[in-house]
């Protein structure tokens, strides 16, 4: 154990009592996942349900929203509030939900295409807004649902798609570096093949006050079978987490993109849209909307 120990230890200290009353399966719905057997997303589902159980978050106080893509099926497989939105719009949905219902633990989830291409602009502004959200991106470097096209994180010379027979020729999107530049206050990288290690990152992300971005390397065994090699290539990012943006920039740039752990963590003011959790509990829907409108029309 090295990276992320601070956050993990803080959480463990608060949960020292006997075994939790809720189990991971209490957060799973009856809907059967249609992901291919061997898909990395199963590891993310397992890690997220274990995290919610460990933190003993009541299912009715958790909302998971998503965009479009294989990974965005996640809300259907969970027995918490869920919303399967439109392509690339997971963060606007999550932002609106958290503004209207600040008492909820809001988790946004999606894939690399959904989050970094179609929703790329929302990603930048969610990072700098620093609302108290957790954003999980399951990155398999391919559009899997539409049967295997290059995504923003695909290597420039990947040429297995007929759409890009000579590769994309473009440099890859750098999720952690861009999140840092855009002002995210928590950045972590996990691996779907290590669900318990990922649980630690997700627990730290959910507990982090502000926008927490968790970049998960989640192999697609169908269209990117070579990603099975990640199991041997991922490694602990020994130097993190950085608490200073300049140090984090150096850490991220020096890393090979396969370093796992909390890369950056900083406590900065959280955007609340002017409605506190306690106040929101007592407001009617109209009053809540009026409060939000007043906040934004100042």
């Amino acid at each position: 154990m090295t990276v992320g120990d601070d956050a993990a230890n803080r959480i463990a200290e608060r949960h020292k009592a006997s075994i939790p009353s809720l189990r991971a399966k209490d957060y799973k719905s009856d809907v059967k996942p249609v992901w291919c057997p061997g898909c990395g997303h199963f590891g993310v589902l397992a890690a997220l349900t274990k995290t919610l159980a460990y933190l003993e978050l009541p299912p009715e106080r958790v909302a998971v929203v998503s965009g479009i893509g294989c990974s965005s099926r996640l809300p259907a497989y969970l027995a918490v509030h869920g919303f399967h939105g439109v392509h690339g719009r997971v963060l606007p949905l999550a932002t609106g939900l958290k503004a209207a219902r600040p008492e909820l633990t809001v988790i946004a989830a999606g894939g690399d295409g959904d989050g970094f291409s179609i929703g790329g602009n929302h990603f930048l502004h969610a990072c700098r807004r620093n609302q108290d959200l957790t954003y999980i991106v399951m990155d398999n470097e391919v559009y899997g649902m539409t049967k295997g096209q290059a995504s923003p994180t695909t290597q420039p010379d990947w040429c297995r798609s007929k759409l890009t027979p000579h590769g994309t020729g473009m440099r890859r999107f750098q999720p952690a570096a861009i999140a840092l530049a855009a002002g995210a206050s928590f950045i972590a990288r996990g691996y779907a093949g290590d669900p318990n290690g990922l649980t630690r990152l997700l627990a730290a992300a959910i507990e982090h006050p502000g926008f927490a971005f968790v970049h998960v390397l989640s192999p697609c065994r169908t269209f990117r079978p070579e990603q099975q090699a990640w199991k041997q290539l991922v490694h602990g990012c020994e130097l993190g987490p950085a608490h200073d943006a300049a140090e984090a920039a150096e850490l991220i740039q020096r890393d090979d993109g396969l370093g796992l752990g909390v890369l950056f963590e900083q406590e900065i003011p959280v955007y609340t849209a002017g409605v506190t959790a306690d106040a929101a509990d007592t407001l009617t829907t109209n009053e809540r909307l009026a409060a939000i409108e007043a906040e934004h029309c100042r």
Binding site: I11, K32, F42, K147, G190
Partner: protein, 182 residues
């Protein structure tokens, strides 16, 4: 972060019966969840026989979890964060290797038994390790008993594998193959 680095030797030593039971409970819950997930996947892909096999294995793991819980009785088990269990693999020894290259939606019953056998062998090896390394004598004794039970499961699956070896059937029809379109 924990991922590929193996924990130090002291991180894998069980110190009490309560700690062992907490690990055993997690191991069985993880096993049950793993088999349920595989059963669901196979059912979605119309691989009915294999789905049924994994469903039965999940039920057995659930039964084992109940047995462990009964054994714990009124004992207060320690609350262990998911990332701090004392095993060297990323998940519980009988839990999910969600990226298992041997798992496919078109897998045969024989291949499914082989996956289960691999898991049971990992569980057996884990209890043998605890039986040899726990600092508490009662925990070592209990771990030996659990290892003996796991050895029975391994033997049963080995005999099932031998029996199923000659009766391979063709893979279920794939109505929507996941190939990149031309």
């Amino acid at each position: 972060m924990s991922p590929p680095a193996a924990p130090a030797a002291s991180d894998t030593v069980i110190a009490s019966v309560a700690e062992l039971l907490a690990h055993a409970l997690e191991l069985e819950y993880a096993s049950q969840a793993h088999y349920e997930q595989l059963a669901d996947s196979m059912a979605v892909h119309h691989n009915v026989d294999v789905a049924d096999l994994f469903r039965r294995l999940a039920a057995l793991s659930g039964q084992h979890a109940e047995d462990v819980a009964k054994h714990a009785g009124d004992m207060t088990l320690p609350r262990i964060p998911p990332w701090a269990f004392k095993w060297e693999c990323p998940d519980a020894p009988e839990g999910s290797d969600c990226l298992d290259a041997n798992v496919s939606y078109q897998m045969s019953t024989t291949e499914a038994i082989a996956v289960a056998l691999h898991n049971e062998r990992r569980g057996h090896a884990y209890y043998l390790h605890v039986a040899a390394s726990a600092t508490d004598a009662e925990a070592r004794r209990l771990a030996s008993t659990m290892a003996a039970e796991e050895a029975q499961h391994v033997a049963l699956l080995e005999s099932m594998l031998t029996a199923a070896g000659g009766s391979q059937r063709s893979a279920p029809e794939d109505l929507d193959p996941p190939h990149i379109p031309d």
